[in-house]
Amino acid sequence: MGLFKSLSVVGWACRNVFKRFFKGGLWAPFLLLTLIQIIALGLLLTFHQPWSQWGMMPLLKWSGGEGAVHYPYFFSVMPVAFARITLILGILLSSWLIGVATLKFAESFGRKVTDRPWSHAFKFYPHLILLTAVTSVVVFTAFLSQRLVPSDLFLTNSAARWGVRFGTQFLAVVIQAFFIYGVAWIVLKEENFMSAIKSSFSTAKSIFLPTVILVGITAMFQFPLSYVQGRGDLITNKFQPEMMIGIMGVEIFAELILGFVLAGAVTFLFLWKQEGAQ
């Protein structure tokens, strides 16, 4: 499939998702996940208070050493700690919620599988967890490849630095593209996680360019936020440390919207490829 055809396919998928933007029922899993992220962020911000000290202080020290529980260095470490929370939430919770969202989108696109999407998705919870865990590990390994670049080159040469950043980001996008149909194969076709991975690879291969474009676009929107979060020291020293809270709030909101669009568009493409969606 050529570039322009791929772009029009992605546009078509996204249009169909945007048409369903105001259907409240479709937002439920995403809003629940966002609520949990906000609660997690709140617990992190109040790490020193009675209700969160027991869990958040060890997490912060693990993420950034002893300095992470001191003001204002805490704000530099906060994105790292939050990313770890999000990773755990992702594996334990959003794996199931994305499954629910996939079922709801499928119903919306005319492919009803079940009357009870929440419990139906929960039936496949172990497979969904395994799929998410494997995807996370592989993506994480892709980002670890940055360490192959000599650190002095990374620090002194901005072309090398940006090249590596974009390179690993692209690699992560491609990896995610291959795994992204796994949830649909599990909850819609009721495959186990190993078969779902194989089938996902096969689906992604058949519509490789549209899938990479779709995943790439959402990653592109998130990249500036994750870059800014990585410059926590600069924000703490030059501006207000509390600005990090705003940045992370924007990121959570962006994930809500982008997650909705991505889940919907992926489900649409999956159905289009498998069964010819309406």
């Binding site: 000290q53 001191h70 003001y71 204002p72």
Partner: protein, 504 residues
């Protein structure tokens, strides 16, 4: 079932409550409050003249309230994380109180400042570093007030309480300087200073033999050099510097440039022992051994001046050529070298070469004091040889050059120097009114500084001696007495005033 759930919930609450330590929460809040107060201090310090006294007062109160709030934090015994957190809260309280005291001292309320510092000394005896912070601020305040015995007492208490850590922030980082400072304060203007330095010597020798930190021994040796220099014991100073030169290169992150030590050895040999040739030898070693050091460039310049003083002009110029070739980025030394080259050439009768060198200075090193001086040197030369026409022309060129400099670089620090030289040009051309106006304007721009005092004095002198404008001179002397009462300018101005008014 309900009872089970209730019991489990209760168990969870007790478990979580048991995991809660208020010290961590308190420490975080204290850190936040101190950081925000420091941020405000930084903001106000950017343009302190624009800050109202009430704002400083409010900030001092903020620091004081912060200190009062956390100073009574109970510290559990032992080394548990909670005990350390509580101790850190108290240390924050001490820092906040010290800041409050310093602000009050800068606002002129030294009584309140002293009370705050003394309270830190008494209330934070269990946290030596915190106590030391207060003692150091107290000692510095007492020293500024010339209450020398009390200041010495405070400094000695710090020395006896705090272990020096030269690379640390705060009071630990300055402890190593204090025995020397105390020795100097005790010695004052005494003829025989040696007995007053014995305690300092003993302290530093002990630090060399029993250092707690890697840099302590080195730093102590550096202070022994200062002690020896104060006492004129140059051989001792040189011995210590030789050891320092050997030791400094053993550090992974050398605390000092070895070239700097070598240069200091040359200076001690030249100025202290009067062995100029030996000093030149040390400079040659410096250039050979530490070519990458900034002091190598400085050494080449010094060697040039040494050879120049012995009338070895060619050798002197060779050193300047080496300086130019090997250190093209050391602009400051290159400018000094260029000026010295011009003076050497002038001295040897090569005026054409000297003139070219003087004229090239503003082109090659435009933002240098030497470039500004070069115009005056040309005019002085023509004055010396009695060439009035060339002198007049060169004074005109100098005036134009200074005006251009001032208009191009008004904010540059050197513009004050350019203005002062412009005033001298006016004086050389007997344009007294313009000279005095320029000096008055410069004195106003540099108000409160020794340079401002000097310009005010010069303006008053010109008014009195050249313009014969006694009224204007009196006004200027009175301003000098008001602004600089306890300075040499103030004293001389008062004498001039009584002379002028007495004569009326």
């Amino acid at each position: 079932m309900k009872t089970m759930r209730f019991l489990m919930l209760g168990f969870l609450v007790v478990l979580l409550g048991g995991c809660y330590h208020s010290e961590f929460s308190g420490r975080y809040k204290a850190e936040e409050a101190l950081w925000k107060a420091n941020r405000e201090f930084t903001r106000l310090s950017i343009k302190p003249k624009l800050v109202e006294p009430e704002q400083w007062e409010a900030l001092a109160n903020t620091y004081q309230e912060l200190g009062e709030k956390y100073k009574a934090t109970p510290v559990p015994s032992g080394d548990s994380p909670e005990a350390l957190a509580a101790a850190e809260m108290r240390a924050i309280a001490a820092r906040a109180l010290a800041r409050s005291g310093n602000l009050r001292a800068s606002m002129g309320d030294s009584t309140e400042a002293e009370a705050i510092f003394r309270s830190i000394d008494q209330e934070f005896a269990d946290i030596p570093n915190a106590q030391g912070t207060g003692l150091l601020a107290l000692a510095q305040l007492l020293q500024r007030q010339s209450r020398t015995p009390e200041a010495i007492q405070a400094y000695e208490k710090i020395i006896n309480t705090i272990e020096p850590a030269p690379s640390a922030q705060g009071v630990e980082g300055v402890v190593m300087f204090l025995p020397l400072r105390v020795a100097r304060m005790k010695a004052g203007n005494a003829q025989n200073k040696a007995p007053f330095y014995e305690d300092a010597r003993a302290y530093y020798r002990n630090q060399i033999q029993n250092p707690k930190h890697a840099e302590s021994a080195y730093e102590a040796r550096s202070r022994l050099v200062d002690v020896a220099s104060d006492l004129g014991d140059w051989n001792e100073a040189l011995d210590q510097m030789r050891v320092m030169e050997r030791e400094v290169t053993t550090f992974e992150d050398p605390p000092e440039d070895p070239g700097k030590i070598k240069f200091a050895m040359a200076e001690a040999t030249r100025l202290g022992l009067g062995k100029i040739e030996e000093a030149a030898g040390i400079l040659e070693e410096l250039v050979a051994k530490y070519p990458e050091s900034t002091f190598a460039a400085r050494a080449l310049l010094s060697l040039s001046k040494y050879e120049g003083s012995r009338e070895n002009t060619e050798t002197a110029i060779n050193y300047l050529d080496r300086l130019r070739e090997e250190y093209p980025k050391e602009d400051s030394f290159l400018a000094q070298g260029a000026l010295y080259r011009a003076r050497l050439l002038e001295r040897t009768g090569d005026w054409a070469g000297a003139l070219e060198a003087y004229r090239s200075l503003p082109v090659e090193h435009p933002l240098s004091e030497e470039a500004l001086i070069s115009h005056l040197e040309i005019a002085s030369r023509y004055d010396r040889v009695g060439d009035a026409t060339s002198r007049g022309r060169s004074l005109g060129e100098a005036e134009e050059a200074y005006r251009n400099f001032i208009s191009r670089f008004p904010a540059e620090g050197l513009s004050y120097s350019a203005r002062e030289k412009l005033a001298r040009i006016y004086g050389a051309q007997k344009r007294w009114e313009e000279a005095i106006s320029e000096l008055e304007s410069l004195a106003e721009a540099l108000r409160g500084t020794p340079q401002g005092a000097a310009q005010l004095w010069a303006a008053a002198q010109l008014s009195e001696r050249e313009l014969k404008d006694t009224e204007r001179a009196i006004k200027l002397y009175e301003t000098a007495v008001t602004l600089y009462p306890n300075t040499q300018t103030g004293v001389k101005s008062a004498e001039a005033l009584s002379r002028l008014k007495g004569g009326e």
